[in-house]
Symmetry: C2
Subunit: 246 residues, 2 copies
DNA sequence: CGAGCTAGTGTATTTTTTACACTAATTGTG
DNA sequence: CACAATTAGTGTAAAAAATACACTAGCTCG
């Protein structure tokens, strides 16, 4: 076992890409670093994983320390391990991304952060370490995920209008969507509860407010992973590949 | 910086899930471990990442040492970092998966491997470390990928029949497919070159042989990431979300 | 009370997916 | 040498999903 000692000189960190949505714009939470390395630069909130801490737990801790949020959507995306990515030595980082409702939380800058601030994803410039790469990978993942699962709701306040939801999708996918088709599709999923309330104090026709139906969402996820129910058309059923492309 | 010294006592490894396809069956290459820990047990080929080695390079090295193959399909999947997953200390592992043509390589058991052998994915039992979890994650990724990109070809010999290709998809997706629809879809992608040859020495009508068109595949990938060409139906074009579900 | 603004709605067309059954070409056997 | 066994290969109709598209409704503010 002594032959392996040389390998036990590395460290790992987690970095969180925390997305939020505000003013029709997709945002990411960045911190202004208060510590070396890259003190004074903007970067992703992240920190070393403690020796007795699981990776997922570390990601939750970092997020919690910074935002005060617990139990939010958090998912591992990719690990970055270029040899020279950290000036202190060999440090690989595991990137996580999470989606939060901006209005739900208050920033609590932690030890490494002088301050934390939302930045428009489209306008993020030069970040510490390889954090631009990490942000990009997480953004791609978000784009993919938003087409696959109805995660968009994680980013909106509890009550929202269909137009707000559409703007969110447009911001993430970076493409305009057709209003009628969007509504048709969203409503056909039966994941929204019509609150039978409308906006107030807006200088135009007020929109209906909706709420996300978490119960149905759980069913949706469960179904999505089990096989479809349309089995047994004949005795022996023959499916075709269902994805958009093989 | 001394305050960080405690963090620099960890190690990381890469583990490769190497898929192959033979006899109508999806296989994974496992090694019988010759070294502690878990000596004598079957596990995934993997090793420590050297201090001056990038993660991707380490994965390629491990694959190359074992199979002699370079420049094959290899992709990072997920990082596993439970605190107690390695008996020697804190070791996180980055899982990669790769797709190879079984016929292309010869097994070269490396230092850690007493022997290497193909195992049917469906029948893999108790592996060293958390390698069952890793294998499962990679298998799920393969399932997803096979619906998204035409990666199936990576697993087949240079010349193959449509039936062989279909069997491959059926093995990965674990579901039967309709022959005519499968052929229609595959051929409509224009990624196959009809070699105008047929099988020989088979006791039934011989099938046509096809070859994968790498040039068109590269175009396919490029297009897949750029926007579709059907832009500008009107001056201002309004798309609908295109995924199967939002 | 009208101008300005956003909400909200339906349908026809096109594209994609699905279901489904018979004939063709080869080898091995009696 | 024909016929049994086996896998290859083919087309179409119906259903479902995606797309394109334009007007009326309801609120505030001046």
């Amino acid at each position: 076992m002594t032959e392996f000692n040389d390998f036990f000189k590395s460290a790992f960190t987690v970095d969180n890409v925390i997305f939020g949505f505000d003013e029709g714009d997709l945002k990411v939470l960045l911190i202004k670093r208060g510590e070396a390395p890259y003190a004074g630069k903007w970067g992703l909130p992240g920190y070393f994983v403690y020796p007795n801490e699981d990776l997922d737990a570390a990601a939750e801790r970092v997020l919690g320390e910074l935002t005060g949020l617990r139990h939010v959507f958090l998912e591992q995306v990719k690990t970055f391990g270029a040899v020279d990515r950290h000036p202190f030595g060999r440090v690989i980082t595991v990137a996580y991304f999470s989606l939060i409702k901006i209005t739900d939380y208050t920033i609590q800058p932690s030890s490494i952060a002088q301050k934390a601030q939302w930045h428009s994803v489209a306008r993020v410039k030069d970040l510490a370490f390889d954090h631009n790469k990490i942000l990009d990978a997480c953004f791609q993942r978000l784009k993919w995920m938003v087409r696959t699962r109805p995660v968009g709701f994680e980013l909106l306040p509890p009550k929202f209008t269909l137009t707000e939801l559409q703007h969110l999708y447009e911001a993430i996918l970076e493409t305009p969507l057709d209003k009628r088709n969007f509504r048709k599709k969203i409503l056909s999923m039966n994941l929204l509860i019509d609150l039978e309330e409308t906006q107030e104090g807006v200088a135009h026709r007020p929109a209906r407010l909706y709420q996300f139906d978490k119960t149905k969402y759980r069913e949706f996820l469960a179904e999505g992973f089990s096989f479809e129910l349309k089995e047994s058309k004949k005795k022996e059923r023959r499916n075709m590949v269902e994805g958009s492309s093989i």
